[in-house]
């Protein structure tokens, strides 16, 4: 069987950044596998601007951001295989892929980096029984058709879910001549970035129905109408609040989940909240030598952070294959009050880098709070925030020295400034 030092699965923003960082950290034998015809991932269909402000200091369209990274990778001795789909992964890091040129191949990897991106939720999004006519799409699928093939999936559109993809598609479809009648969000707050609420909905007078969900879809072969209803605090529809819309298309923008089929096959522990892998301070999963990053680890709103995470995973994998880290002791890091999840889940202060970026999402919209990292009652770090929202990933940066004296599990909580 052939063997490689590092195999990266998925050639989106995370995978490309991981490859570059692995090379820059001294690994000279890297294989990058991508199932599509070219590298770039989901960004290739995100033609709107808004990418790269942190990284390049300019607002690029998705394909431009991807191209800049592909250009950086181009001259490095990283072997890239496109049209190549990984179908198996085991805990000994045997990676099996298929492609038209080689057929079915298994490689043994010194380290594997999972950068597979995410899937769109669709099932279970609509609480209506039975038959589903055509005309119901996930927002990302509709985006791919429109932006890469020029095919507009419908003319009168309603959108369920206020995720960013749905908001961006609302604007895009209006510009292409469709009518978007509204967006329903089951939660009492929007899940999209505030800027997308403004520039995609408000700018085009598209109404947003908070605390509403779709309760009926009509049409036999093709969708011809939907009904939305207000929901109560337990998210159950309230009778008598129905509003009907005549539409031929319903887009679902109800969330993304990390693609973890391969991780599960390899036996990696998954995180109950993020639905991605549980990782330590080096983005390593519970299976030694298997790393995870990007939307395949937890869903990101900003690609700049995806690239950064890819770089962390790439650098860590390079060190791992050189045998540079064997942790002495890891301590658990858990979400405290008001926090929905934190990553990493385990921190080993003895081998951590000089700085560790702890990523988290909060549970609700709040103002004037602090994010507090503690070991028991002892405060390790505190960061003030003017506002926090579940739709925005937060970060707390801790230095190695600040964690030197840790001897037990840590929690990260949101607290009012008081």
């Amino acid at each position: 069987m052939n063997s490689r030092k590092i195999v990266i699965i998925g050639g989106g923003s995370a995978g490309i950044a991981a490859a570059i960082a692995a090379y820059n950290n001294g690994c000279d034998d890297i294989l990058l596998l991508e199932k599509d015809a070219e590298l770039g991932g989901i960004l290739l269909q995100c033609i709107h601007n808004g990418f790269g402000l942190h990284r390049f200091g300019e607002e690029l369209a998705g394909p431009a951001y991807a191209e800049k990274w592909k250009d950086m990778l181009k001259d490095l001795p990283v072997e890239v295989k496109t049209d190549t789909t990984v179908i198996h992964l085991d805990s000994d890091r045997n990676v099996t892929y298929v492609n038209p040129a080689e057929g079915y191949v298994t490689v043994k990897a010194g380290a594997v980096i999972m950068a597979l991106g995410c899937r769109e939720r669709s099932r279970g999004a609509i609480a209506t029984p039975g038959y589903r006519p055509s005309g119901v799409w996930t927002a990302g699928t509709a985006q791919k058709y429109l932006n890469m093939q020029g095919y507009l999936v419908g003319k009168r559109v309603f959108i369920l879910g206020s995720g960013d993809i749905g908001l961006i598609m609302a604007r895009r479809m209006v510009l292409e001549g469709a009518k978007v009648l509204g967006v329903a969000e089951i939660m009492p707050y929007s899940n999209g970035l505030p800027r997308n609420m403004k520039q995609c909905l408000d700018d085009f007078d598209i109404p947003l129905y908070l605390s509403h969900t779709v309760t009926d879809i009509r049409g036999k072969d093709r969708l011809n109408g939907i009904t939305i209803s207000r929901v109560d605090e337990s998210l159950n529809p309230i009778k008598g609040t129905e509003i009907d819309f005549d539409v031929d298309t319903l887009l679902l923008s109800v969330g993304l989940i990390p693609d973890t089929a391969l991780l599960s096959e390899a036996g990696a522990l998954l995180h109950p909240k993020t639905k991605g892998a549980k990782v330590d301070e080096h983005m390593m999963t519970s299976v030694p030598g298997i790393f995870a990053c990007g939307n395949g680890l937890h869903v990101h709103d900003l690609v700049d952070f995806v690239s950064m995470e890819g770089e962390e995973a790439g650098a860590a994998a390079a060190k791992y294959v050189k045998g540079e880290f064997i942790p002495k002791k890891g301590y658990e890091l858990m979400p405290g009050d008001g926090v929905s999840y934190v990553l990493p889940c385990v921190v080993s202060p003895d081998i951590m880098e000089d700085e560790l970026e702890i990523k988290l999402r909060v549970k609700d919209n709040r103002r004037n709070v602090r994010l507090v990292l503690r070991e028991g009652d002892k405060t390790i770090k505190e960061v003030r925030k003017l506002k926090t929202a579940p739709s925005e990933m937060e970060k707390v940066v801790v230095k190695k020295a600040e964690l030197a004296a840790i001897s037990g599990p840590m929690t990260l909580a949101v607290e009012d400034m008081g």
Binding site: A37, E38, L44, I47, H48, N49, G50, L53, E59, L60, A61, G62, P63, A64, A66, E67, L146, N147, M148, Q149, G150, L175, E176, L193, P194, R195, M197, K198, Q199, D203, D301, L302
Partner: protein, 122 residues
């Protein structure tokens, strides 16, 4: 009653999405602007009050590329009210591969002094 009124904007210049408040007098003149984390937020709100500007991205038909559409972006923002005009002008625009990122696809579109450029190479 006071002589001032407040208008609250979500700055869309970057993903941070600051909530920026403009304090205006009776005539609508700007007295002060607050809540922006950087100077671009101030410029944004001034424009928003006078003449809102927007970036626009779309696609044009491409022949001989790996996909049927080439993504395009404007070299600069345009007045919000002109977005539909630009979309119409892009209708039917056709290019042939190869194209390089940054290539001008339509010069000075709709006389707005901005160009339509390719978002990627293909």
């Amino acid at each position: 009653m006071t002589d001032t009124n407040k208008k609250v904007f979500t700055c869309i210049v970057c993903p941070r999405g600051c909530e920026v408040t403009a304090n205006l007098d009776k005539e609508g003149n700007i007295l002060s602007i607050e809540g922006n984390s950087c100077p671009r937020g101030e410029t944004y709100v001034k424009n928003e009050l006078l003449n809102p500007m927007r970036q626009l991205t779309s696609t044009v038909i491409i022949e001989g590329g790996i996909y049927d559409r080439l993504p395009v972006i404007l070299s600069d923002v345009i007045p919000k009210g002109k977005m539909m005009d630009v979309m119409e002008a892009l209708n039917g625009v056709k290019v042939k591969a190869p194209v390089k990122r940054g290539d001008v696809i339509v010069k000075n579109i709709c006389g707005l002094n901005v160009d339509v450029v390719a978002s990627r190479s293909m």
